[in-house]
């Protein structure tokens, strides 16, 4: 274990920034803490436990152009593309215009399509273990796990990213990482784990990538007292995260309760805003759109959210999840049933952002507590699925 003194932090980040981009939680002028590109002199905000959004944006961009395309003119007509005043005047002469049009007919427009995949080396510094684990959970989806497709855009950024996580010394009441097999000092996904101790950070290398990152940084070995202190911090933090629900059997119960009226009741106050999906460290669903301006176009993928009715709306007007409770059910079932069935893992790392930021105070722990456990026969009646609920 190494030791990074508090007063060395700026120099350490500066050192990292020499090799790659550094992203860290920074408080903006509006008081909001977000992961932002770090530059020397910027203060890293670690007193606020969680940045408002996870750091997923730096690997799975909120909006990302992944193809560019356009038509390039080849042949005779290329010479005719002349925007000058003289050319326009000339084209007012019918004979000239006819000649230009004829040339245009023989023009050979070539469609050019090029992938765009920009992935600079980056260090995400100061994210919490739940956020680091969120990347691992998305890795399964984008990394071809189980024989599925390999996503070159996500993976280019992911493989260029080093994660330096920080132990949560003071978990919040909305944290439930320990209920989903994580913890405030868990290392899954992290390349390096820092733990705040007196005067600085105890530094643990977790992966080879982490080893490489620290190799050139001149850090002293941690003293015995610092090692012990870090252990105490971790244990204390672990004990402070409340058990939220029992994960055992959740998948089976979600399956059994699929038609249960509880979904209707729990989703009543949901306003389908999708905030929970945007702040989530592992909600990854996206939309694809084309944009074209003056013959040059882009194909773009953008974060999407499954609460939006248009997410599944078909051209015919048919919508497989036309009522709110079905869309609501989809998100929780995806995280604790559908995804686990495909990837042998969970799609939730227990950060609790969805609880903190929900405008109607929907609490994932309550939803799983109710729908992820055995329901009584009385409650298990199928709700009426019509009646203006959508």
């Amino acid at each position: 274990m190494k030791f990074l003194a508090q007063d060395q932090l700026q120099a350490f980040l500066g050192h990292l920034a020499g090799e790659s981009r550094v992203v860290a939680p920074v408080k903006g002028d509006d008081g909001v803490v977000l992961f932002r590109p770090w530059s020397p002199g910027t203060e890293v905000e670690l007193d606020v436990l969680l940045a408002k959004q996870s750091a997923k944006e730096f690997v799975l961009r909120q909006s990302e152009t992944y193809l560019r395309y356009g038509y390039a003119m080849e042949g005779e007509a290329a010479a005719q593309v002349d925007d000058s005043h003289e050319a326009k005047v000339a084209l007012e002469d019918p004979a000239e215009r006819k000649a230009a049009q004829d040339a245009a007919v023989t023009a050979h427009a070539v469609l050019v399509v090029e992938p765009v995949n920009d992935a600079p080396a980056q260090v995400i510094f100061g994210l919490r273990p739940c956020d680091a684990r969120g990347f691992v959970q998305m890795d399964n989806v984008f990394g071809g796990y189980g024989g599925f497709y390999f996503d070159p855009y996500y993976n280019a950024k992911r493989e260029a990213t080093t994660l330096v996580a920080v132990t949560c010394r003071d978990p919040r009441s909305t944290c439930f990482c320990t209920s989903v097999q994580g913890g405030p000092a868990a290392t899954e996904g992290a390349d390096v784990l820092l733990t705040q101790v007196e005067g600085g950070f105890a530094v643990e290398v977790v992966t080879e990538r982490g080893e490489t990152l620290l190799a050139s940084a001149d850090l002293a070995d941690a003293g015995q007292a610092q090692v012990l202190y870090a252990e105490t911090v971790k244990e204390t933090a672990e004990a402070r995260v409340d058990a939220a629900f029992d994960l055992e059997g959740v998948r089976e119960h979600l399956r059994a309760n699929i038609e249960d009226s509880g979904w209707h009741d729990l989703s009543m106050r949901c306003i389908s805003c999708g905030t929970c999906t945007y702040v989530c460290p592992n909600c990854y669903c996206f939309n694809i759109t084309d944009e074209m301006v003056e013959g040059q176009g882009e194909r773009i993928r953008t974060w999407d959210n499954c609460f939006n009715p248009s997410y599944t709306l078909e051209t015919s007007g048919h919508n497989p999840r036309d009522i709110k409770s079905n869309r609501f059910r989809n998100r929780f079932s995806h995280k604790f049933w559908y995804y686990p069935e495909k990837y042998d893992s969970l799609l939730c790392s227990g950060c609790g952002r969805c609880i903190t930021h929900c405008p109607t105070r929907i609490d994932i722990r309550e939803v799983l507590g109710v729908m992820g456990s055995e329901r009584t026969a009385v409650s298990a009646t199928t709700p009426a699925t019509s009646g203006g609920e959508a």
Partner: protein, 308 residues
């Protein structure tokens, strides 16, 4: 059958890296072709067939001859057909698997992408990502009777499979095709229909919903005609595709005729974007229509939430 089978098998429970991919590890057919499953191959429209007043078939050929030569797909697989600047949509590949000159897609004019496709002329460029998804298990059906029940544009999803079983006619028992449309004008693939009706080795029943001037064939809804035909379930596979309401009543009819869930197949469509099981929207419970389907047996569908 082809490389796509390992998708369904869910083999190799591990995450790939770029190093694996560079070393030749591929998980799915589109990845093999392009190295980037999001990158469409440029293709040229070589022929357009007006099937009905609102359905056109497009025959497209990849500009890259190597891609065209390498093309192999299973009957029932789909592709993403798109126009750069507008977008992509999923369509069944309805040309025969043995057709090496082109891929055929049939498109009903309905929304943004399909309307733009209907504006295409021969020679225009499109983007194609194909093949995708899992086809029908035609190998496993060898020796069985095959009953196709389809309505309207649903024929597009079954056409390649019909071609396959007719091209391998000796491998299958009785082949029956029940095909219905609203009016005779709405019957797709009239060139196929004529062929089916003259062939002696299959039974083809063509029906339209109501009387139509000049129509001397059968009149009646597909589920009703199915009931009248009363096919025997013994050693038979029933495959249906059409409008959701037709599928619903056909499935009920098949059940009444004692067809089991294991004998009954359909192929689904959903709003799709990536087509490769990542973007998230075409799921029915834990299954993605794009990679786990679009072909499902009723036995598989019974396990899923009612989100058809």
């Amino acid at each position: 059958m082809t490389a796509t089978q390992n998708i369904a098998a869910g083999n190799g429970k591990s995450r790939l890296t770029f190093a694996d991919v560079k070393a030749g590890a591929t998980t799915a057919a589109a990845g093999t072709l392009a190295g980037n499953p999001y990158l469409p191959q440029i293709a040229t429209v070589i022929d357009i067939i007006d099937e009905t007043p609102n359905i056109k078939s497009f025959r497209v050929r990849f500009d890259d001859e190597a891609v065209m030569d390498a093309l192999a797909f299973d009957p029932g697989q789909v592709g993403q057909l798109g126009i750069f600047g507008v977008g992509e949509s999923t369509f069944a590949i309805n040309s025969s698997c043995s057709e090496k000159r082109y891929l055929q897609f049939s498109v009903m004019k309905a929304g943004e992408v399909t309307s733009a496709l209907h504006e295409l002329n021969v020679g225009d460029k499109v983007g194609v990502r194909a093949p995708m998804g899992c086809g029908f298990p035609v190998e496993a059906w060898k020796g069985k009777n095959i009953l196709y029940i389809m309505g309207g544009i649903g024929s597009a999803a079954l056409r390649a499979t019909i071609s396959y079983t007719l091209e391998h006619r000796e491998d299958y028992g009785d082949i029956t095709i029940l095909y219905g449309a609203r009016t005779p004008l709405d019957l797709t693939y009239k060139y196929d229909v004529e062929d089916w009706q003259v062939r002696k080795d299959i039974e083809a029943v063509i029906t339209v919903d109501r009387d139509f001037p000049g129509w001397e064939g059968r009149v009646g809804f597909v589920p009703t005609v199915l009931e009248e035909m009363a096919p025997k379930p013994a050693n038979t596979i029933a495959i249906t595709c059409g409008p959701p309401i037709m599928i619903k009543f056909v499935l009920q009819g098949l059940q009444k005729l004692q067809f089991t869930d294991e004998q009954t197949y359909t192929t689904l469509e959903k709003r799709m974007k990536c087509g490769i099981g990542i973007c998230g929207r075409c799921n029915i419970g834990p299954r993605y229509v794009c990679v786990d389907g679009p072909v499902f047996s009723m036995a598989e569908l019974r396990e899923l939430p009612d989100e058809m």
